[in-house]
Every structure is written in structure tokens, then in C-alpha cells.
């Protein structure tokens, strides 16, 4: 049934929302593998479907509008896209947990930090209240919060943004999950704090051995933290592969465009940056063919845009190197 030995394998995932103007497909046939103990990055511009992919894996799509329309999410012998709600409830928090961008929305403002940390320990680990409280203090210590025995009785608003994100990480790690999905965990933080949080995640991963899916729009964060990368564009995977292949030999024009449009710390000053002309197509009228084609600078792109192929054939991914896959359409690839 499975064609790869990752700890989590997503295959042809399709997720959609019912909206006033009809159904929109936010994630359209996404596949990738998370290897045990490794970090997989998902990168792409806002609206490309990163969060919807994560929420589909966790089965946390907003209800009733959001639905998984197809595909599988293999975890061990199970398919998370079809297991019962009860089973999913057991898995969430205990085996797979999530860290969100905005710590304030992930935390309950009127509950003491210790209570929030204890919650999953009581549910999943069956600890007594006293033990759960003590373990909460240990967890706060583990994520580098000073005076944890004081902080454990405080409320979220009494902490700085960086400290709150540490609490969210502590909650996510409370039950020793095998997989952590971090959705833009540092986007709301200043660079100095971001660096601290990324270092913290890395060292916790090394000591606890979990696998991580790191979702971000920041290629710098990807380069510093990931082993493998999935580049998403308009709900689909444009290219995926090992970090070095993606950064050093990008094959998709979108990946290339992204790489060359970021200002780098060593870019010459006052020199024009590269840009990708045009903009992302709207969810309401996505092309069937290669979605990046209308922005492609391939010399014969007009032929493709006018072809039946563009109107009717959805390109698959093709393997072009060890675990390196790219959309199988010559008009959006390096030429």
C-alpha cells in the first residue's frame, strides 16, 4: 500500500472549502514523506496551502466548511485521513502535535500556564494532578523558561511573546510526541527571539528524537533547520527534495524565482532584485495544467498556455535525482 518508509507519508491529499461562491480546492494533490528524526520544510507564499495541509494531517480543518476530499496520510499502519474521530483524538497531542504561529491564540488567556500544560498529561498520560503539575514545571525548565516554579502559576499575558511561544512548545512536547508540526512558529517574533526559538527546537529534537514538519514562508528558516523541503505553489507541490538539491540545483522556475528574489545579507546594495512577474492565480479559477505557467519566462510558454494540454492535463511529479521530484512540465522547468 505504501511506497516509502517515512514516519508520515502524505499521498495525493486534496482538501477543499465550501464557500458562498462554491467549493474551492485549497490543497490539490499534495504528496511528501517525513523521515523519522528529520525535519521536513514546507515553503511557499501565503495562500499556497501550507496551513491547510497541516490542518488536514491533524484533521483540524475548520468545520463544517473544510473537507478532505481525497488522498491518504499514512502513519504507521494507519491512514489518518480515514481513522475514526476517537482514534484521531488519541493521536493528536500524544503522538502528533502542533505549534501555531500566534502563541496567544493557542493559549487560554484565563487559565494558569500549569493547568494548560497539565491538561494533556492528565488525558493522555494518566498522571495525577500533583504529578502533572510537577511535570509541567520540568517542561517549562526544558524549554528554557527562567524560574519555572513561579511561571507555572502565571497567566499567558504575564509573559513576553518569546516566552509564550516557549510555553506553546512545552505544551506540544508534553507527551513526547513522535511528530511535531510547527506552522510558522517564529513568524510573529523578532529575529533575535526567532533565533532562540529555532535553536531551542533543534536541541529538543536532538534530545527527544522527534520528527518535525516546519512550515514557513522564510527560506532562511528552511535553510537553517530542514533536511528535506517541499515547495508549494497554488495548492500543489512544485518541487520537493533534499535541502541541498532544492537550494543548490532548483529545477522548478518557481523555486528559482523565489531563491533569487530574496534580498541576501551579501547582496549588493541599491541593485535591483530579481522578481517573479505576475501574481498567483485565484482559487476560483485555477488552471488544470501547470499553475505557475502564466508567470513562467520559458521562451515557448505562449505555445503551452494556448495548448489543449494546459487546459486539460495536470502534470505529475517526475523523479530527477535522489528523492528530488519536480513538476513534470518542461515549460515551468529550467531550460
Amino acid at each position: 500500500m505504501r511506497d516509502s518508509a517515512g514516519i508520515l507519508s502524505v499521498r495525493d491529499l486534496v482538501a477543499a472549502f465550501d464557500t458562498d461562491s462554491g467549493q474551492v480546492t485549497a490543497v490539490d494533490g499534495v504528496s511528501f514523506d517525513l523521515q523519522a528524526g528529520k525535519t521536513l520544510g514546507i515553503v511557499g507564499e501565503s495562500g499556497c496551502g501550507k496551513s491547510v495541509t497541516a490542518m488536514s494531517i491533524m484533521r483540524l480543518l475548520p468545520q463544517p466548511a473544510g473537507k478532505i476530499l481525497g488522498g491518504r496520510v499514512f502513519y504507521g499502519d494507519e491512514d489518518l485521513a480515514s481513522v475514526s474521530d476517537e482514534r484521531m483524538h488519541e493521536i493528536r497531542g500524544a503522538e502528533i502535535s502542533m505549534i501555531f504561529q500566534e502563541p496567544m491564540t493557542a493559549l487560554n488567556p484565563v487559565q494558569r500556564i500549569g493547568k494548560q500544560l497539565s491538561e494533556s498529561l492528565l488525558i493522555h498520560e494518566g498522571l495525577s494532578k500533583k504529578d502533572a503539575w510537577d511535570r509541567s514545571i520540568e517542561l517549562l525548565q526544558m524549554v528554557g523558561i527562567p524560574s519555572p516554579e513561579v511561571r507555572v502559576s502565571e497567566y499567558p499575558h504575564q509573559l513576553s511573546g518569546g516566552m509564550r511561544q516557549r510555553v506553546v512548545i512545552a505544551i506540544a512536547l508534553a507527551c513526547n510526541p513522535k511528530i511535531v508540526i510547527a506552522d510558522e512558529p517564529t513568524t510573529a517574533l523578532d529575529v533575535t527571539v526567532q533565533a532562540q526559538i529555532l535553536d531551542l527546537l533543534k536541541s529538543l529534537q536532538d534530545s527527544l528524537g522527534m520528527s518535525v514538519i516546519m512550515i514557513t514562508h522564510d527560506l532562511g528558516v528552511i535553510a537553517e533547520t530542514c533536511d528535506d523541503v517541499v515547495v508549494m505553489y497554488a495548492g500543489r507541490v512544485a518541487e520537493r527534495g533534499p535541502i541541498n538539491a532544492i537550494f543548490n540545483q532548483p529545477q522548478h522556475l518557481y523555486t528559482k524565482g523565489l531563491m533569487s528574489s530574496i534580498p541576501r545579507i551579501d547582496s549588493p546594495r541599491k541593485e535591483k532584485l530579481n522578481t517573479i512577474e505576475g501574481s498567483v492565480p485565484s482559487l476560483m479559477n485555477m488552471p488544470v495544467g501547470a499553475r505557475f505557467a502564466p508567470r513562467s519566462w520559458h521562451p515557448s510558454i505562449q505555445e503551452y498556455l494556448q495548448s489543449d494540454e494546459f487546459a486539460t492535463v495536470r502534470p505529475d511529479l517526475v523523479n530527477i535525482g535522489e528523492d528530488h521530484w519536480v513538476e513534470d512540465c518542461p515549460y515551468v522547468r529550467t531550460f
Binding site: E45, S46, S160, G162, M163, D190, V191, T192, V193, Q194, A195, Q196, L198, D199, H217, D218, L219, G220, V221, I222, A223, E224, C226, I243, N244, F247, N248, G257, L258, M259, S261, I262, P263, R264, I265, S267, R269, K270, E271, K272, L273, N274, T275, I276, S279
Partner: protein, 337 residues
């Protein structure tokens, strides 16, 4: 732009903006949030001064005080030869043509019930420039300049993407051919591919119109690309100011080093040495005495030394640094200068 002959367009001297902190009726001593605390710098015509620092360090407040959306508590702002820090509304009006501000989310400053045509025409109407036909002609020219289609005039702000809305914001800002634009995080909310389009547009316009920018951002790589000189703010004060290349190649203040070393490098496998700060940003309400940065610096000093203020001084041509035992690693040498 290097132009040592001409006079600065903007000179800011010892500028302070202190906000009174609202407290209970019974508290006696009034406390202040020292958002901008004794800042001095200047900007030359056609020059971009980048401004970086963590959130809450006072960047936006400084920008607003300069263009007089806020009244400074004390200090001087000299713009194009005139002292403007005490000017009233009517005195400021003619200056509004020459000094504009753009924000992170232009949507907030674009009236959602007006078409783009109306929004862009408004500054001409207010300043009583041209007749209806001439004004429409000017709007067309603006749309061309910022790369928006002519059909935009009939549309409303919500019909545009974030990047396009920022182009509209820029079109409005340049409509009266200003000498200075304060850019407050204009690309922070945009995706990288759109961000590079907007940065290029700003650089093009500067070349064409010789505009000066005060460019505020928390992304140092962005600031580096667009700026001639860069100032680093910490808790309401400038801690370092230098030519951009110099600042990034040879940062002197430990805080600048920390900021630069924290930027994630988009090249896998490069491991760099990080300057790690202790603790969190302290509050600008009743900041600790002496050197604000001393208690976070990787160079640890005694509380007694931390409580003595540093000295903001020029250590090389045009390179200013807050010199204090906790802020620089060659204090002896620099303090002797």
C-alpha cells in the same frame, strides 16, 4: 547618494517622545513610556536611511514624530531649512506636500468606499492643483509610474492584492512629488516575490525623483539592500549608525552583532557564530538606569557599571556607536578616542 556638499534635507536633534502612562487614580508619581529618547541624525537629499530594531523599540513613533503625526516631547526636527517641531496644523499644511508616510498595511490608510481614481486625485484636490481634466491626467501618470493598469481607477481597494495595494499607497505618497517619504515597514506583510517588486519600485522612484527615504523595517536583509546608511535602535535610542556596507561588515555594538547574526541564512550548511542575547527586551516604561542594553549583552558587567550610561560617539568617519563596557568589546580603545 554621496553628496557632502549639499545640506541635509532632514535634521533631527535630541528628539524625545514620551507617552504618559495611564495609571490608577491613586498613584502619585507620573510614569512615562520613553518611546523615543534623545535621538539625533540627519538625512541628505536623495539618501535612504534604514532604521532597524526589535518591535517596540520606537521606530514607528520616531517616524510619526518626524512627519508630525505626533507632537514630540522635546528636541528639534529641521526639514528643508525650517524648524517644524512646534508648527501648528495650518503651518504644516504646505509641508505635507514635501513629506509623506507609507505604512505596512496601506489598506488602513486607503478609504475603502472610494475608488482608486478618487483616492489618487484627493491630494491634488486638497492642495488645489489643476482642474478636473488635468488631475485625471496626473492620476494616469501615477498609475503608470507604479506599474498599475489604467483600469484601476474604477476599482476599490479591496479588489487589489496586498502588493497592488502597496503600489496604490506609494502612488498616493509620490503624487505631490515629495522630498522625503517615511516608509514604515512597507514590505513586511508581503511575500518575497512581491516584496522584491516593491523594493525595486521604491529604488526606481528614488532615482527618478531624487526622493529621500527613512526606511523602517525589522528585516535587516531588506534594509541592507535599499539603504545608504543604517541606524540601529534599541529601547528608544540609536545605539549604532553607519554606512550600510560598513555596518554589516563591521558591526561594533553587541546589539547590532546580535541582530545581524540572528538573520537566518538562506544557504544550507552555513553555520555561523551567533551573538546570543540574555533575557527579553526590557520595557520602555521606567527602563533600567544607565546603559539600557547592559543587562542583555553577552559581555557581562557589574550592576554598578551597567548603571552608568554609555556615550554615543563617532568612532570613525560617520560611524556612531554607543560606547560602554557592555556594548563594545574594545571599550578601552574606543573610549579613549
Amino acid at each position: 547618494m554621496e553628496n557632502r556638499e549639499s545640506k541635509p534635507l532632514l535634521e533631527v536633534e535630541n528628539l524625545k517622545v514620551h507617552f504618559p502612562v495611564k495609571e490608577g487614580v491613586f498613584s502619585r508619581a507620573k510614569r512615562y513610556c520613553k518611546a523615543v529618547d534623545d535621538v539625533s541624525f540627519s538625512i541628505m537629499p536623495g539618501e535612504t536611511l534604514g532604521l532597524v530594531g526589535e518591535s517596540g523599540c520606537g521606530k514607528s513613533t520616531l517616524g510619526k514624530a518626524i512627519c508630525r503625526l505626533l507632537k514630540p516631547t522635546s528636541g528639534r526636527v529641521r526639514f528643508d531649512g525650517q524648524n517644524i517641531e512646534l508648527m501648528g496644523k495650518s503651518e504644516l499644511r504646505p509641508l505635507r506636500r514635501d513629506m509623506q508616510i507609507i505604512f505596512q498595511d496601506p489598506a488602513e490608510s486607503l478609504n475603502s468606499r472610494h475608488t482608486i481614481g478618487e483616492i489618487l486625485e484627493e491630494p491634488f484636490v486638497i492642495q488645489k492643483i489643476g482642474n478636473a481634466i488635468e488631475r485625471r491626467q496626473k492620476v494616469k501618470g501615477l498609475l503608470d509610474k507604479v506599474g498599475l493598469p489604467q483600469s484601476s481607477t474604477e476599482k476599490y481597494p479591496f479588489e487589489f492584492s496586498g502588493g497592488q495595494r502597496q503600489r496604490i499607497g506609494i502612488a498616493r505618497a509620490i503624487s505631490l512629488e515629495p522630498k522625503l517619504i517615511i516608509c514604515d515597514e512597507p514590505v513586511s506583510a508581503l511575500d518575497v516575490s512581491v516584496q522584491s517588486q516593491i523594493l525595486n519600485l521604491l529604488m526606481d522612484l528614488q532615482e527618478e525623483m531624487n526622493i529621500s527615504y527613512l526606511f523602517i523595517a525589522h528585516d535587516l536583509s531588506v534594509v541592507r539592500v535599499i539603504s545608504d546608511r543604517v541606524g540601529v535602535m534599541y529601547l528608544g535610542k540609536f545605539v549604532e549608525l553607519a554606512d550600510g556596507e560598513e555596518l554589516f561588515r563591521n558591526p561594533v555594538h553587541e546589539y547590532t552583532k546580535a541582530l545581524i547574526s540572528a538573520i537566518p541564512d538562506p544557504r544550507p550548511g552555513i553555520s555561523k557564530k551567533r551573538t546570543v542575547l540574555r533575557g527579553d527586551v526590557p520595557s520602555p516604561i521606567d527602563p533600567p538606569p544607565g546603559c539600557y542594553f547592559a543587562r542583555r549583552s553577552p559581555i557581562e558587567v557589574s550592576e554598578e557599571i551597567a548603571s552608568t550610561p554609555g556615550e554615543y560617539k563617532e568612532i570613525g568617519e560617520g560611524h556612531w556607536v554607543e560606547v560602554h563596557p557592555a556594548t563594545v568589546d574594545n571599550y578601552k580603545e574606543l573610549s579613549a578616542l
